[in-house]
């Protein structure tokens, strides 16, 4: 069943702040096998002009995707999450995420389309720090595959 177009443009309340921890960044960098010292060594990060260790570019997805859960699980929208796959992902950075950031995400439904029975939803997540400054915008495209005919 096609999703309700009236949800396009809907913005959800900002999430409670997520505090970015130094050890969480380290854990993520280790999981992707990336030994860039900017992720683990504050002095190395400072030598690059950052105030503290920074996170790998895709780290913030864990935060924005959790925020997108407000949309995905909105019972009024009625997305069948068991059929959802990740189609596209894009980030536009004002600055890298760094240790000590307290980040909140404001999610907006940018587009809803139905193609060949698949529901396609575009969600924009604006990430701001505690001072209200923009850090990164995450653009997430989710595809809910058409249910098989019984």
């Amino acid at each position: 069943m096609a999703l309700d177009q009236s949800f396009v443009g809907r913005t959800y309340p900002p999430t409670d702040p997520y505090e970015v921890g130094r050890e969480k960044i380290r854990e993520f960098a280790e999981a992707i096998g990336d030994t860039n010292p900017a992720y683990t060594d504050a002095e190395a990060a400072k030598a690059l002009g950052h105030s503290d260790v920074i996170a790998p570019p895709t780290f913030v997805f864990a935060i924005t995707f959790k925020a997108a859960g407000q949309v995905i699980e909105d019972p009024q929208l009625g997305l069948d999450y068991s059929r959802v796959v990740h189609g596209d992902q894009k980030f536009a950075y004002t600055r890298p995420v760094r240790s000590g950031d307290r980040l909140s995400v404001t999610s907006t439904i940018e587009a809803i389309k139905t193609m060949a029975g698949n529901d396609i939803i575009d969600i924009r997540g604006e990430v701001h720090d505690e001072a209200g400054e923009h850090v990164v915008t995450a653009f997430t495209k989710l595809v809910a595959r058409a249910a098989q005919e019984a």
Partner: protein, 144 residues
């Protein structure tokens, strides 16, 4: 932000050093924990097959994280990445053996975007088992 590479030193067509990233089942379990994405298609073979996949597959976001390392290693400063986007075209299938799968990433400077901002567009190609796993994979990088 201090990229190692100077804008003046690159031209459209400049190739970045290619890299190959191994991924095993253990890698996926570790990434699941670090990222908080515990979808069983990334660690449970029985579940993955029940939903029509050939086997356990890597998180798309894991592949995206590996691919940009070609850019961040080249630029020196990961903070030099101004934009990064991909399309997930094919899954990276990860067999339950000692070698797992390989993600092969190559990249080149597609265009110099802005002489004042010193930004370039880098186009990435990510392959696994002979198939292109990321499409429309592009980054905008601010060089020194």
């Amino acid at each position: 932000m201090t990229a190692k590479i100077s804008y003046d030193e690159v031209e459209a067509g400049t190739e970045l050093p290619a890299q190959t990233f191994p991924v095993s089942r253990a890698t996926l379990v570790q990434y699941a924990g670090a990222s908080g994405d515990f979808n069983p298609i990334h660690w449970n073979e029985k579940f993955a097959k029940e939903v029509g996949l050939p086997d356990v597959i890597a998180h798309g976001m894991f592949t995206m994280a590996e691919a940009i390392r070609v850019v961040t290693d080249w630029a020196g400063d990961p903070g030099a990445v101004a934009e990064y986007g991909v399309r997930f075209t094919k899954p990276v299938v990860v067999p339950d053996d000692e070698t797992g799968a390989l993600i092969e990433v190559s990249a080149k400077v597609a265009a110099k975007l802005d002489d004042d901002d010193r930004t370039v567009r880098v186009d990435l190609t990510a392959m696994s088992a002979g198939q292109k796993v990321l499409g429309m994979s592009r980054a905008v990088v601010r060089l020194a």
